[in-house]
Amino acid sequence: MLLTGFFANLSCSSNTNKLPIYGERSTQEKEVDGKTIIDTVYHTIPDFSFINQDSAVLTQKFFEGKIYVANFFFTHCPSICPTMQRNLLKAYEKYKGNNQIAFLSHSIDFKYDQPHVLKDYATKLGVDNDQWQFVTGSKADIYGITKDYLVLASEDENAPGGYDHQSYLVIIDPEKRIRGAYDGTNEQQVEKLLTDLDVILKEYQK
């Protein structure tokens, strides 16, 4: 009896699990209250500065205290993007009006996707508030930050549309850490993204 109670407890606690923290980590010695302790330093998204669909500068300030989902796309991408954006739209519609959640789509076509092109795309997709940001930046900045999100992207003239990239939807927590990555073209993984967003929302409930 006691044993079953113990296991029930265990299975309960595994249900309320937090999402894992991804990326490389290191340890750091730190002094707290006069004692030296060892602390884990997690991989975080570095500071950035991009231009959004309203031609305004967008930095991490916008995402302060928020959980956000990031991805990489381009507006005239003929292959995986429409499916990926259709699926991210499901999440946008589910959490629309929730100021703890935001979305960030980086265009990897720095030549064509000027702010007004991004604005037109966002409007036509059905995005009518600033909760979902679409950004462009210099080639070095955009491709540089793909690595921090652990997503591969490159210019490739043999790829459909001229750019090759992965379709991951990446969850970033308010501490700028990666907490999940889901294939945006796979319906089951997108379902998992939606349930995992509920899980991480609980973790940071105010």
């Binding site: 795309y121 036509k124 997709l125």
Partner: protein
């Protein structure tokens, strides 16, 4: 007892009737075309136009407007083969996005594909024949 038997028979007959009336509307050939067409749809069209031809916002038009499909029957093959540019109206919504061309698809592929789209998303009960598609393609406006 007799009433039960009669009700039972009636139920059986009506079930069989609905079953057969549904499956017999399309010929076996049409269904075969649509099945092959579905595979082509999934690899060439589904990204933008969606699993069920629902489109995406006002970026990519839906393929479920049977009025559009019926009125433009002779143009559909050209749209697939040569792509599309400029504004169009589908189901009362304006769209203006470039659609890529699919020159690699044969006239038979296009017949399969259009059969799937017009029977599953539209209300057509017949298939596109290869010769018909070839005729349409000769008359494309370029």
């Amino acid at each position: 007892m007799i009433i039960r038997v009669i009700v039972g028979i009636l139920l059986l007959v009506s079930t069989l009737y609905t079953l057969f009336s549904c499956t017999n509307e399309m010929s076996v050939e049409t269904k075969q075309y649509a099945t092959i067409g579905q595979k082509l749809y999934d690899s060439h069209c589904q990204n933008c136009h969606g699993n069920n031809g629902e489109g995406l916002g006002s970026l990519y038009p839906p393929l479920r407007d049977s009025v559009f499909l019926n009125q433009n029957r002779s143009l559909l093959a050209c749209i697939i083969k040569n792509g599309m540019n400029g504004p169009i109206q589908v189901a009362g919504v304006a769209y203006n996005q470039q659609m890529p061309a699919f020159p690699q698809l044969s006239s038979l592929d296009i017949a399969y594909l259009l059969t799937y789209v017009t029977t599953y998303f539209g209300n057509s009960k017949t298939h596109f024949k290869q010769a018909e598609v070839e005729e349409f393609l000769k008359n494309c406006r370029s």
